[in-house]
Amino acid sequence: MRGDVLVIGWGNPGRGDDGLGPACVEALARRAPVGVRFEQDYQLQPEHAADVAQARLVVFVDAACDAPAAVYVEPVAPRPASGFTTHGLAPAALLEIARGAFGAQPAAWIVGIRGSCFEPFREELSPEARDNLGRAVGFLDAVLAADDPAEELERAARCGVPTASAAAGGEGR
């Protein structure tokens, strides 16, 4: 499945490793893979549902604390997540809006990148986060170059890549 892929990274680069999502998207976008759109923002917000609705495959890229691995992959499905505010939507809630408002339900995966320092007003990534970013970019480069990125993500999630649902919500930092 090539084409119609959306990679969306979010976080605040002014808050240390919280900027891992945007940093990953910037690095991937420089390679300009065919058929892939990139978005980055401070938080996931309702308007991203319009972007999600136009994709067949969505990859959410976010920093994670307390993650079991440097980089992990897990599937995400629409869910009427309670407890969110629009200060930042969780990927599952965003997918639910895309389904409700646009009738779209793309396949979706979360790629979490472990960070360790989320201090405000810290512009650079920590050394550990930089290493983890490199691994994530390398991994996603390969995924996006594959004939079927979704299959690659599924394999990564299945074959020993740890999942960390607690860290994957996008708000739990």
Binding site: Y42, Q43, H87
Partner: protein, 479 residues
């Protein structure tokens, strides 16, 4: 329960930007003595920015908040223009900034109305919170949800087109801007304007119809007379980017008018209360007891004499015709006022996109360096003040910010107190109804608590009820 005062605490108020905590204090007779919306984190931005070169500040302040970085970017830029000795930008620079600002107003108001407020309006204040949210709107009113998403997205696209990117956009620099609008972006945005205009007018009608159908209930809900503050032109027109300060009293009488931004500290002061990191601004001449004021869409409509775009002006006239003239003190009328401003924003965007200056190349001005300056802007949530002093090494040595939500601090406390009094009526338990009403009252102000306290991340908000002796009677949390 011994002692003379009891206390109720409610947290969190959901669907405000960030979270807060509400404490309701009762007296010996179980009547509400005081309500306090308070915050538990403090970010200390004013201290952080000290020692940084002044030209970095417009970029740094975007870290204040991921919700309204554009407003801080532009308010700081206006201050730094003056530090750089520039009192008048080139036409292209000013119009690029105005376009960015109108994009911010449009997207922020759309987000609030469609995704934060509309669930209360569509499902009722007392509907199940698990349904009364944006996902409930998407499920039960998909066309409305779709419009809200696409209006918000359009506003964000305006910001992206002017700033180059969404995260840490850099367009305004001291003395001007570093880019003009790409002609291709101009045409792309122009093509969307008619649809956005129609939807904005529809949203005004939705807010109007809701307000008028429920007016009897809304007039009593969290409403009270107050002073109002906002920016206007020298002629008294609504002015969101670069106006003069005007304040009116609860009877509509002018308290001050035509005040240059630099004089804000002569007229306004901030009270510190030991239980909150958020300050309490007030008009000096009236003192803290009588000088507190409201800002934001309702206040702006109250202080202006006209809106300088035809559709929004027509809507403004209908607003005051229906609500008994200015000033209007109905807190829930903030929603209607917010949609009138959304209509004004898209009218302004249309004008600016049609203006040849918007793709010009005269971007920067220079002047004689100053040591101190103030930048004031009407952010979506209200008047936003940035005040800086800079030393001979170009480093910031003082910063003071009054953010919109801080100005609405006292009004939000009063709104909570009013709804709590009506709801509790002598009871000492927090039920879903009280939680719902406290949420709705606070949400009318569209507060950004993260910004107001300079705190990032999640801030769970509780509601507590405490007795006359300070003892906790009840506590409820709603995530």
């Amino acid at each position: 329960m011994s002692g003379s005062t009891r206390r109720l605490v409610i947290e969190p108020v959901t669907r405000v930007e960030g979270h807060g905590k509400v404490t309701i204090l009762l007296d010996e007779r179980q009547r509400v003595r005081e309500a306090r919306l308070h915050i538990v984190e403090f970010r200390g931005f004013e201290r952080f920015v000290q020692g940084r070169p002044f030209w970095e500040v417009p970029v740094l302040v975007q870290r204040l908040c991921g919700i309204c970085p554009v407003s801080h970017h532009l308010a700081a830029s206006k201050a730094m223009d003056r530090i750089a000795g520039v009192d008048r930008l080139s036409p292209t620079a000013e119009k690029i900034r105005r376009l960015m600002h109108m994009g911010q107003i449009f997207q922020s108001h759309a987000l609030h109305f469609f995704h934060l407020a509309s669930p209360d309006l569509l499902f009722g204040f007392d509907a199940d919170p698990s349904v009364r949210n944006v996902i409930g709107v998407a499920r039960h009113h998909p066309e409305l949800a779709r419009q809200g998403v696409l209006m918000r997205k359009f506003g964000q696209e305006v910001i992206r087109a002017t700033g180059g990117k969404r995260v840490h956009a850099i367009v305004a620099v001291p003395g001007g801007v570093n880019r003009s609008l790409d002609p291709a972006d101009r045409e792309r945005l122009r093509a969307e304007v008619p649809r956005m205009m129609t939807w904005a007018e529809d949203a005004v009608a939705l807010a109007r119809d809701y307000t008028l159908e429920h007016l009897e209930q809304l007039e009593e809900f969290g409403s009270f007379p107050s002073n109002h503050l906002g920016l206007v032109t020298a002629d008294g027109d609504l002015e969101l980017y670069d106006g003069l300060l005007r304040a009116i009293g609860e009877d509509g009488a002018t308290l001050f008018d035509g005040v240059q931004n630099e004089r804000y500290a002569e007229l306004l002061a901030e009270e510190v209360r030991p239980w909150s990191y958020m300050k309490f601004p007030f008009i000096r001449s009236l003192g803290p007891e009588r000088g507190w004021y409201r800002v934001g869409p309702l206040a702006r409509l109250n202080v202006c004499r006209r809106i300088p775009t035809p559709r929004a002006e027509q809507a403004r006239r209908a607003f005051f015709d229906a609500l008994g003239g200015a000033p209007c003190h109905v807190t829930m009328a903030y929603h209607w006022a917010r949609m009138i401003e959304t209509l004004h924003a898209i009218e302004q965007i249309e004008r600016l996109l049609d203006d040849p200056d918007i793709v010009g190349d005269d971007l920067l001005r220079e002047g004689e360096r100053r040591d101190e300056a103030v930048g004031v802007i009407e952010a979506p949530r209200g008047t936003l003040f940035h005040h800086y002093r800079v030393d001979a090494n170009d480093q910031v040595v003082m910063a003071n910010l009054i953010v919109s939500t801080t100005s609405n601090n006292e009004p939000m406390n009063r709104a909570v107190r009013q709804v709590a009094e009506r709801h509790l009526a002598g009871r000492t338990e927090i039920d879903d109804g009280l939680l719902n009403h406290v949420e709705v009252a606070i949400r009318a102000y569209d507060p950004c608590l993260s910004c107001a306290t300079h705190a990032l991340g999640r801030m769970p908000l509780e509601v507590e009820l405490r007795g006359a002796d300070g003892a906790l009677l009840d506590r409820r949390t709603r995530d």
